[in-house]
Amino acid sequence: MHGPLIETLARQGVTRRTFMKYCATLASMMALPPAAGRAMAEAMAAAPSASKRPSVIWLPFQECTGCTESITRSHSPTLEGLIFDVISLDYQETLMAAAGHQAEEALHAAMKANEGKYLLIVDGSIPLGLDGAYSCIGGKSNLETLKEVAKGAAAIVAMGSCAAYGGLPRANPNPTGAVSVADIIKDKPIINIPGCPPIPVVMTGVLAHFLTFGSLPELDKLGRPKAFYGETIHDRCYRRPFYDQGKFAKTFDDEGARNGWCLFELGCKGPITHNACATVKWNGGTSWPVESGHGCLGCSEPDFWDGGGFYKALSMPANPLKMVAGAAAVGVAVGVATSVLNRGKKGAARAAHEKTTLADLEK
């Protein structure tokens, strides 16, 4: 197997063997047959010269750049980063050298040259409040930009929870009127890669799938690739046996916490969070939140900011006792009122009592 990509990797000190292994891992993570790994490797290695690489446009809206940071700073040498060598990233504000008009020109040139073929990646939510004035690029609101760029896209990747569900900007009370990509674009295939930020390998896996097979992987009903979001953190958590045994850390520095017991009671959202953190881990497989002693925040689920508190156990209601005083007062009032009515009725019946005589036993 030869090709420009293999040579580039070799220069970065990544052997062909490592690359093949990476592709195989990717394929297996996506629950594809073993042959798919080789197909992926070949497709990527054979990536043609720069002019023929598939064009990718990356639009940043209301976001924090965490998603970009996540993918570019994954680990070194950057296997995840290799993806940038097989695509033509024609517009990415954070990474591109161009700025201002130059950058806009690059965007429009790419859109024109690859109409109907380019892949659109979006990170960040789209604000609808004040006619979109909360976030503008080059004098255009994000809404305008999205509609314009989406028109010629082959597919859209909503990168991170903001693009996928609205994320932090959409959290109650949502001052900017933020919405997700899918709330606006209805006529293009959209793949959601939620997470705050998403796991790098998930993103490269999806891109590799797209490059190799020219299609999107199988999605769940929230538009997420099933391969990565099919199971909950809780299902795969290495602390799960403690949950099953009922062993819970009660505070972050108690005996249970030191023994690595389940963090359910400290608010871990693992049971309701679909993501691959527990298997893929972060930072090149170093660790992940639960392993480092903190419960899952549930960042790959919609509205995770408004779930009632990160440190409140899942079984915990928000605040069900807030109306009990009022309810008790109403209950007592209704009860006493009925009681008074009843006593009145009974009293009336008693007052109307006519002493029964023998004759009264007959009709």
């Binding site: 919609p302 509205d303 009632g308 156990a313 899942l314 928000a318 309810a327 209950g331 009860g335």
Partner: protein, 219 residues
């Protein structure tokens, strides 16, 4: 409404509503029932009735003489499902956690494998209770819509809770939300159906026991 919004609603406003209606209903019904009062008994007691009311409250939890043999299914399945419900409700760690967050009271729970087993046994017992109601002429004869309905609203929280823990049928999030919703329905329905026996059983036994104590009948 997506899963998370649904869960957020059932844990938030839904639960607020259910808990409030439950409390409202319980107080209303207790006052409605016991507010009717009763006439003072003017007859001379054989013994002062003393603690006989309280004694009966406990004693009636055991089958009356020779009755266990007459209706074993009613007793055994009845005990199993009441005890099972009690254990699952009060000894499952997440439930304890809930009670703790509301009241500050907490106690050790049972390992979840035990709870799982108890839940299965309880579900089975409830199915037996239902089958018994369908197959026994007396039970079928005196059963009304309310009997079938209350069976269902008692059964559903148990079943959905177990399914949620076992990750069956629906994703955990959805099942947890459905479970909480079922509990809320149970809470709202309880004061206004025969399920209110959970409260009035104490009053009823006490009245019965006091009258018997007054007469010197061994209670």
């Amino acid at each position: 409404m997506n899963e998370m919004q649904f869960l957020t609603w059932v844990r938030g406003q839904g639960l607020d509503l259910a808990v409030s209606l439950f409390l409202l209903g319980v107080l209303w019904r207790l006052l409605e029932i016991y507010g009717l009062g009763r006439k003072k008994d003017l007859t001379a007691p054989r013994h002062a009735s003393g603690a006989s009311g309280w004694h009966t409250v406990f004693r009636r939890s055991l089958p009356a003489e020779s009755m266990l043999k007459k209706s074993p299914v009613t007793y055994i399945a009845g005990y199993t499902f009441h005890l099972g419900l009690g254990l699952v409700v009060f000894l499952f760690a997440p439930h304890i956690k809930l009670i703790q967050s509301l009241t500050g009271l907490h106690w050790p729970g049972l390992p979840s494998q035990f709870i799982d087993l108890i839940a299965i046994v309880t579900i089975a017992a409830m199915v037996v209770v239902l089958a018994d109601r369908i197959s026994k002429p007396v039970k079928r004869f005196i059963s009304t819509f309310e009997d079938w309905f209350t069976w269902l609203v008692t059964f559903l929280p148990l079943l959905t809770g177990w399914l949620a823990v076992r990750h069956l049928l629906l994703p955990y999030t959805s099942m947890l939300a459905v479970h909480i919703l079922c509990v809320e329905i149970l809470l709202i329905v309880l004061p206004f159906t025969k399920l209110f026996h959970a409260f009035t059983v104490f009053g009823s036994r006490w009245y019965n026991g006091t009258v018997n104590g007054h007469k010197g009948v061994v209670v």
